[in-house]
Subunit: 472 residues, 2 copies
């Protein structure tokens, strides 16, 4: 407790924080003055430096590019034929760059499975030797216009979805979704996982590619817009989008010159997979966000991705750098037989959906998904409402009936995240922390705050440099 | 204006309405009394007679049968092979019974088209001669376990969907949906309409039947439950249900031993038709409601149907009688080039969806549809909330995310409609009043109150008869 002061009896002094003018005035009146050298906290000052016409104009350019994207699914092709920079020795993976030594279990599992699938290794130990002697080139999917859910392992002979953004002319890529259960993306690499990937390579990929070309492409902007009005948020719930995609492709697949049993098997596999659309939607988001990247001075977030160890973000005006922090573990519901001790930290490129205004940002329109991650429809609406606080705009393509057809919150602004302290809401699947097991549940997760603090610091340094240049 | 009365100065009298005891007391005190012979209005007295254990128990039986229905789409077969009482000379039509002379334009158009399709007539005049000389047997679809949207014309060689209610063991039937534009159900009968019906008969019907049998049937209770969570109300919006149906059947259709172009054409037709599921859902509703019919003393409505001239309802405890009134014209939005003067009064058996807890009763979960009929999402939720006031229960299969997964209001009670004055809310398509033109828009409509008043009167007569029997 401070000592009591009797303001009527005790002599008064003053502490002046800030302008010298006030102190001088008091000294002139005979009041004793103690001067304190005070400045606003760096964040506030730095924030002020980023709320300026230059940054606002840059963000308008970046946001306009994001909102204007018109994505068309145009083909399915082997990665080696279409993914920029792909080689026979390359394994692309989810999230920011990471060395083998620091990779989590499911990421390693996915990579080992991919090496076995490519015939570059036959066992885990074999694959590890290959990696140790430097014969494998690792690189983030994101560095190759590609996105992959969970482990995201992508190699040369895998068929990839080709999504073209007709507005900007760029393309983005993603592998085919394998369904649930034991699958490569959750770090499983058993023989049946590899067999499925070979069926994809030999049958499904070529068939889908032919069907998509015959259909003249599939308008994904329109399809996602429909799915969002049908209760999907296109990250953890893809039921409507998957059905709409099957509806669009089934006539062409049915018309293919393949054995009847194979046509049937392709469509039966598609129909059995509620997440068939996940990778398609992710590539559509990547295709929309890439043109918004590289706008000088823009504070727009153009990627959020996790490698199972670190969470990383990229920002439009900050070039190729990743701003990373330790990945957190999602909070949610576990499949029977699993619990929090089984879950790997957050993993996968699928947070590209949130970055583009879907996933957790659209969860208010997907009340069924919140039951799956352990929430209520009312809470889901609140998550979406909160995301309007940290976004620069609203989608013109994805509209939420539950909010009277308001567009989803779109375009995360680093300034708004730092200023409000509100972190992006992601809803996601959870992988087992050991390789070879698979999905253990689904839940909600946020990026570590430090990603945004570091990006913010880099942005303010650029503004400080610009101000300094103007003064000289 | 009544003459002014000064209560302090003028002598007081009394008018006694009701119990003699009060009048006697006043007379004893020297107050002049004018006696009025008053009784509660018949409705209130009659209502009281229907709120009794006997009726409640009967309604529980009927409602339980309705809610317990488990409908499976098991086949597609020619009507003549499966529809009870179907003959080569029969034309089934929508709504309650009606003679040719009183039929509206679209109903006549659908019937003439059906006669031409069956090869029984070649022109309108030809068909009219056939009808006039009594060579055609008309009967409501509803009398043959069948339902048909709009005109509902159903004849011997048309392929019909076969829906089995696994709980009660009964079956219901409906023709295949023809899509939008010029179609028989809206009273069009041009050569391309007839050609499509022949393609249905020769190719689509047999293919769908084979696919459904190979798939081991389609669980419609589950499918509709999913669709309701995806923004369908399964009357005016069938987008999700249609996509889910295609997803379920596409593998088997793709595997059929048909020319590739024909497989493709069947699925392309299905994919182009947002209302593909309408007739399937209607048959599912009919299959659920039929076992709830015929429960002595039950006041549950088991059918609402319109023939374009009259609206009719049937009630579980009132046998085969229809209670009818003049059909009203829906209020809604018109396609370009059409207006209120073009619309036919309400037509079709599709109000079977509302009778089973879908359509207008589930419209709160289908905000997109209200834009199509000229309303707001908030108004749609209010329509659904209001329907809980006139229904006996809530669906256990169809749950609305927007109402925190509450079951849709299900099982219209004649007592509640008469007591509250709230009429069932129907959302529906609108046909042109002239034959041969087709759909002109979509909107909201209600049954005429007189249907319920007449059914109510019949119910109270039965109760009065029962009371009289007990007294003797």
């Amino acid at each position: 407790m401070p000592p009591e002061t009797n303001f009527l009896r005790d002599p008064l002094g003053a502490v002046v924080v800030g302008p010298e003018l006030f102190a001088a005035a008091l000294v002139a009146q005979g009041v004793p003055v103690r001067r304190v050298d005070w400045r606003p906290p760096p964040a506030a000052e730095a924030l002020a430096s980023l709320w300026c016409d230059t940054v606002d104009a840059a963000n308008r350019v970046a946001l306009d590019r994001l909102l204007a994207a018109h994505q068309i699914l145009v083909d399915v092709r082997p990665a080696i034929d279409v993914v920029p920079g792909m080689t026979r020795e390359t394994v692309l993976h989810a999230g920011p760059p990471i060395a083998w030594e620091r990779m989590s279990g499911p990421l390693r599992g996915g990579i080992v499975g991919a090496l076995i699938y490519e015939g570059l290794a036959t066992t885990w130990e074999d694959a590890e030797r290959l990696v140790t002697r430097g014969a494998v080139r690792f690189d983030p999917c994101h560095h190759h216009a590609t996105v992959g859910p969970m482990a995201g392992a992508t190699t040369a002979s895998m068929p990839v979805l080709v999504v073209e953004n007709r507005t900007a002319g760029n393309r983005a890529y993603s592998t085919l979704n394998e369904g649930l259960g034991k699958v490569l993306r959750y770090g499983a690499y058993a023989p049946d996982v590899i067999d499925r990937l070979r069926w994809f390579r030999d049958v499904v990929g070529p068939a889908l590619g032919e069907a998509i070309r015959r259909a003249g492409g599939i308008d994904l902007r329109a399809l996602i817009g429909q799915a969002v009005q049908m209760g999907d948020e296109c990250h953890n719930r893809n039921r409507a989008a998957s059905a709409l995609l099957i509806k669009a492709l089934a006539p062409e697949i049915a018309g293919l010159d393949l054995p009847g049993a194979e046509r049937r098997r392709i469509l039966a596999f598609a129909a059995s997979n509620e997440h068939l659309f996940l990778n398609v939607g992710m590539a559509a988001c990547k295709a929309a966000l890439d043109p918004a990247h590289g706008v000088t001075d823009s504070t727009l977030v153009t990627a959020m991705a996790r490698n199972g160890t670190e969470f990383g973000i990229r920002v439009s005006g900050l070039g190729d750098r990743w701003f990373t922090g330790p990945a957190e573990t999602p909070q949610g519901l576990y499949f029977p037989g699993f619990g929090p001790g089984d879950a790997n930290p957050d993993i996968g490129d699928s947070a590209i959906t949130e970055t583009a205004g879907l996933g957790g940002f659209a969860i208010g329109g997907a009340p069924a998904v919140v039951q799956f991650v352990g929430g209520t429809p009312a809470a889901a609406l609140e998550y979406t409402r909160l995301m309007y606080e940290i976004t620069l705009g609203e989608s013109t393509a994805y509209r939420l009936p539950a909010l009277d057809f308001r567009g989803t919150p779109t375009g995360i602004d680093v300034r708004l995240v730092v200023q409000t302290g509100i972190l992006p809401q992601i809803d996601t699947g959870m992988a087992h922390r050991e390789p070879g097991i698979g999905q253990v549940g689904a839940g909600l997760v946020k990026p570590p705050r430090v990603c945004f603090d570091r990006a913010f610091e880099a942005l303010t340094q650029i503004r400080a440099g610009a101000a300094s240049t103007r003064r000289h």
